[in-house]
């Protein structure tokens, strides 16, 4: 009789342990899967456009000494001014939007 009770108790204990383990293994299946959020640094940034000279172009030329960069900017302004003056002499849509040789635009 004692042996029978011991086997029954062990069986109940085994069933209880199995149930707990099963519940633990299946708990996360019903929860929604979270997608990792993109960090701010990974999000695309819309930069504000610069006037006359695009700031992104300036930032993207880290190897150029600042003196050379300033000369490029001044050359760009001079070329744009020349193009604008050329437009005033012969105002057409083509001359207004004529091609520029400025390296800051290309």
């Amino acid at each position: 009789m004692e042996m029978l009770l011991m086997v029954a108790a062990m069986s109940l204990f085994g069933v209880a342990v199995s149930g707990i383990l099963f519940a633990a293994a299946t708990r996360s299946e019903g929860e929604p899967v979270r997608q990792p959020e993109a960090r701010p640094a990974e999000r695309p940034v819309l930069a504000a456009p610069g006037f006359f000279v695009d700031e992104r172009v300036i930032q993207a030329r880290p190897g150029i000494p600042i003196e050379a960069l300033l000369l490029q900017i001044e050359r760009h302004v001079a070329l744009e001014q020349a193009a604008a003056e050329s437009f005033l002499h012969a105002p057409t849509s083509q001359s207004l939007h004529s091609h520029t040789l400025s390296p800051l635009v290309h």
Partner: protein, 156 residues
Amino acid sequence: MPNGQPDLLTGVGDVDAAEVKALARRVTLAPGDVLFNLGDAADSLYIVERGRVALSLPMQVRGRVEDVQIEERMPGQALGWSALIPPHRFTLKATAPLTTDVLALARAALLEHFAARPALGYAVALNVAAIVGQRLQVFQAMWLREIQRVVQMSRG
């Protein structure tokens, strides 16, 4: 002045032009000297007599404020017309890249002279309008070219 009268005195007779110049004070600038700074009170109009004057605006470049030259004035050309137009503040910085002589015409003296000679004042006012208008048209065209690039960039 290499060829005739300065642009400020275009169409003005020699006698009248000489009288206007007689009101001026000659200023000699050494290389690197600043004639006026952005935001300074504009009390005088200038005519470049010899040398050159560079006009610049401040610009943020790599986190530093740098003066970027946007125009240059040669002998015979006027600068500093803010002296005649309210709020009488310079909107550019003017420096001499080399030894330069300018004639400085004080606003008070000019206006007093023109009050006594309205025809001369009218002729000079037209010349100032031509200088201002030309700059406006040039910068309007430059602005439109820039806007066109922004439109093209936004399309990808």
